[in-house]
């Protein structure tokens, strides 16, 4: 342990030394740290005056944590450049080879660079926040709670780890600094969205949700570090493989993986699809378990907690039933309002969205979206139970007929996304990161085109033409 730490520190120490000897890094950072809190303090003063005139204490309460978050974020965004060039910069300057030729372990090199990448911006971020808080202490204003402060500091830490670990992954994979800088948008754009989301959470003021945001970001950062470590190979920094992007080979590899050894579509369904499903056994088990748990939890939450917010009186139940009978009266002509092809495309789009969300988050966001959808089932069933409808009957008549295909399709799609995420963070020494990415995408596509799309098509037809009739039969009084 101590030997490992010494080696990591050795790599980091030189980088620290190098950074603190480079005025081009230090001067702007000091200016940013020293200047921005004063600007922010001045803005806060003006905000206080403004709010005092019109009475907006609540907004004021939210503005301070928001400003702290922004102050902490600025130095992080700047030092992204340093992290981006950590490996590829050394490669371009020709300093990487002596380092790679040394007995240092891959982990030591990677974690040493990560340590510097995270520590330097955090030092400046926390310094900046500290200065702002010091300036703020002179103002007649209430400080954010200790819990909120802790959350923001943790959020800043998670931002640093997330951005730097993503930047280092890019730095390892890029061939030139220019390429790394161009690829930086893959870090900057998602983080910009993230920051906007966090701003909403801060203004919302729900510390509990903010805690989950911190937890989510920490998990994502951990996965990014694991991804970086899994795919860090000295060879990539020196080899020629990553210098070329051969679309023809990529296309061939992708297609070969999708079709497998099958010679006809029947053989593909007979051999390849079952084999893929066998590979998905573990993710399927996880996703099905999550689905069951989510439906049960959301059902229980609605049944238990709704009465604490709304009093369920016989009048209210009657109103709800009346509302349903008025709105579900024309359910048997659903096809004229929602055509089956539209429903099908909408569901296909949702499963593709799961994939994209999964790709940027190592499956976590894709699985979360899936869970949100499952939670809706629980909510519907819980709601039905509250207005004295049998949840079982609702499930059997309104969800199961098409759900047997639709839910199955979504479960399979999510399991495939989960597998993509798992594969990305699993070390595979014989394959490059690009190869692993391409093959896991092909695996997803095989399942998507072979099972998910046909199942969703069947589900859409049943949902539009069959389910409404069953609902009518189950609830004739509606």
């Amino acid at each position: 342990m101590r030997r490992n730490w010494n080696a990591i520190w050795m790599v980091a120490q030189r980088e620290f030394q190098d950074q603190f000897r480079d005025w081009r890094i230090i001067v702007p950072m000091f200016i940013m740290v020293a200047l921005f809190p004063f600007v922010a303090d001045n803005s806060t003063r003006q905000a206080i005056n403004f709010m005092n005139r019109f009475g907006g204490d609540l907004i004021l309460d939210r503005i301070i944590p928001f400003v702290i978050l922004v102050i902490g974020f600025f130095p992080l965004s700047f030092t992204l450049i340093v992290a981006l060039e950590s490996f590829v910069g050394e490669k371009e300057r020709g300093t990487i080879e002596p380092l790679l030729s040394s007995p240092l372990d891959d982990r030591h090199l990677y974690l040493g660079k990560l340590l510097v990448g995270v520590s330097t911006p955090l030092l400046f971020s926390y310094g900046s926040i500290g200065l702002y808080l010091l300036l703020l202490s002179r103002r007649p204003i209430e400080f954010p709670s200790a819990y909120m402060m802790t959350l923001i500091l943790l959020l800043t830490f998670a931002h640093a780890v997330l951005m730097v670990s993503a930047a280092i992954v890019i730095s390892v994979q890029a061939t030139t600094i220019r390429a790394a800088n161009l690829l930086a948008s893959f870090v900057v754009v998602p983080v910009a969205f993230l920051l906007q989301g966090e701003t909403v959470l801060i203004f919302w003021g729900d510390e509990g949700v903010l805690f989950y945001a911190v937890a989510g970001l920490t998990i994502l950062s951990g996965l990014l570090i694991r991804l970086g470590l899994s795919h860090f190979k000295r060879e990539y920094l020196l080899g020629r493989e990553i210098d070329t992007l051969n679309f023809k080979t990529m296309g061939r590899t992708f297609l070969a993986r999708v079709t497998g050894d099958a010679k006809s579509i029947f053989e593909w369904y007979r051999l390849e699809i079952p084999s893929t499903l066998r590979q998905l056994r573990q993710p399927l088990f996880i996703v099905i378990s999550l689905a069951v748990l989510t439906v049960a939890a959301s059902y229980a939450w609605v049944v238990i907690y709704t009465p604490t917010y709304i009093e369920i009186t016989p009048d209210r139940i009657q109103d709800a039933q009346k509302y349903l009978s008025e709105n579900l009266g024309n359910v048997d002509v659903l096809s004229s309002n929602i055509p089956a092809p539209w429903l099908f495309l909408s569901n296909v789009r949702a499963t593709v969205l799961f994939l994209f969300a999964g790709l940027i988050s190592f499956a976590t966001l894709g699985v979360t979206l899936f869970m949100v959808n499952m939670a809706l089932i629980g909510v519907v069933l819980g709601g039905a139970s509250l207005i004295n409808f049998s949840p079982t009957l609702v499930f059997v008549s309104a969800i199961l007929p098409h759900g047997i295909f639709e839910i199955t399709a979504v479960i399979i799609a999510t399991a495939a996304v989960l597998k993509v995420g798992a594969v990305l963070v699993t070390p595979q020494p014989d394959k490059s990161m690009g190869e692993i990415f391409l093959l896991s995408l092909a695996d997803w596509f095989r399942v998507f085109i072979g099972l998910v799309v046909p199942l969703l098509a069947i589900a859409a037809v049943i949902e539009v033409y069959v389910t409404p009739l069953i609902i009518k039969m189950a609830f004739p009084y509606l």
Binding site: R14, Q17, P98, S101, P103, L238, R240, E241
Partner: protein
């Protein structure tokens, strides 16, 4: 010791950068690896340093398999890379100390090794200056000092004297010779054929990833340029006419003032040849071996490989 068998490296599943390299360099030997740019020298060295994994074949460096024990290989090898690879904001002293630490040397050893190398390569005065301020030659010497800081048993040196002035280059060659005497195993990749000729015990010529020739300088000369030639020079025009040559000697060429003989066993045949010439009152000024340089061997080999005619 460096051993490799069928060592090969393929890129993008279609291009063999190194194809079936077999080497055997014993302790106390220097192998010069010659070849054009892009011939596969650097890839070979990188595989021997366990930086690139072989696509086929195996290599053992300092007793360790490069694929199975990469860390041990790297710990036992000193590498001078194509680019000097110095950190420009570090002083020479700091740089050597840093790499000394990486190679696990204690503070006392680091200091003594660093002092010795800085002193030997004439960098003592500049030891506390940032290496960014060094001249090209000084940078190269510091990089070489880095490769030697842990006193490795195996040295892989890529163009060790490039960018150096003649005195510095001589200094480096002396150090390499000294290391050979102390039983180090050394591979030098170089375009400097005179340097290879003066230093190497073994020479390998690599072309498009394949070793075309491998052996001692004499073996290479004989294999590529044929038997040794001796030239008799005369004081003035001399018509030797037709005379019987001792067996083992063949007349290779003649001018008005010289004759060239191809001789298989010079120790036996040359005295007879000189006797034959003097008995015919040849105005002999000198009788000596026609110098054949490594340059001729290299250029002829390359010409043959490319299918062109080599004009000496």
């Amino acid at each position: 010791m460096i051993e490799s068998n069928d060592l090969s490296k393929q890129y993008n599943n279609d291009f063999w950068a190194v194809d079936g390299v077999t080497l055997n360099v014993q302790p106390g030997q220097i192998l010069a690896l010659l070849g054009q740019n892009g011939a596969g020298k650097t890839t070979t060295v990188r595989m021997l340093t366990a930086l690139l994994s072989p696509s086929r074949g195996w290599a053992r460096v300092g007793g360790y398999d490069v694929a199975k024990h990469p860390q041990e290989v790297r710990a036992n090898v000193g590498v001078l890379t194509e680019q000097h690879g110095l950190y420009m904001r570090m002083t020479g002293e700091e740089y050597l100390d840093y790499f000394g630490k990486i190679y696990g040397l204690d503070a006392k050893t680091r200091k003594s090794r660093s002092d010795y190398l800085l002193d030997y390569f004439g960098l003592k005065e500049a030891a506390r200056r940032r290496s960014g301020e060094y001249s090209k030659g000084m940078k190269q010497k510091l990089a070489l000092a880095r490769a030697l800081i842990h006193d490795p048993v195996v040295l892989l040196l890529d163009e060790p004297t490039s960018a150096m002035d003649p005195e510095s280059a001589q200094l480096v060659r002396s150090e390499i010779s000294r290391l050979r005497s102390s039983k180090r195993t050394i591979i030098i990749c170089t375009h400097n054929l005179a340097e290879a000729e003066s230093l190497a015990d073994q020479i390998a010529i690599i072309y498009r990833g394949k070793i075309l020739l491998n052996g001692t300088l004499e073996e290479l000369k004989r294999a590529v340029l044929g038997p040794v030639e001796y030239e008799a020079k005369f004081a003035h025009e001399f018509d030797a006419g037709e005379f019987e040559l001792p067996s083992g000697a063949v007349l290779a060429s003649r001018t008005a003032t010289s004759l060239r003989f191809r001789v298989e066993a010079p120790q036996d045949v040359n005295p007879k040849l000189v006797n034959a010439l003097t008995s015919r009152n040849a105005p002999l000024v000198s009788f000596q071996e026609v110098p054949k340089k490594l340059e001729h061997v290299y250029l002829k080999t390359m010409a043959d490989a490319q299918g062109v005619i080599y004009a000496a």
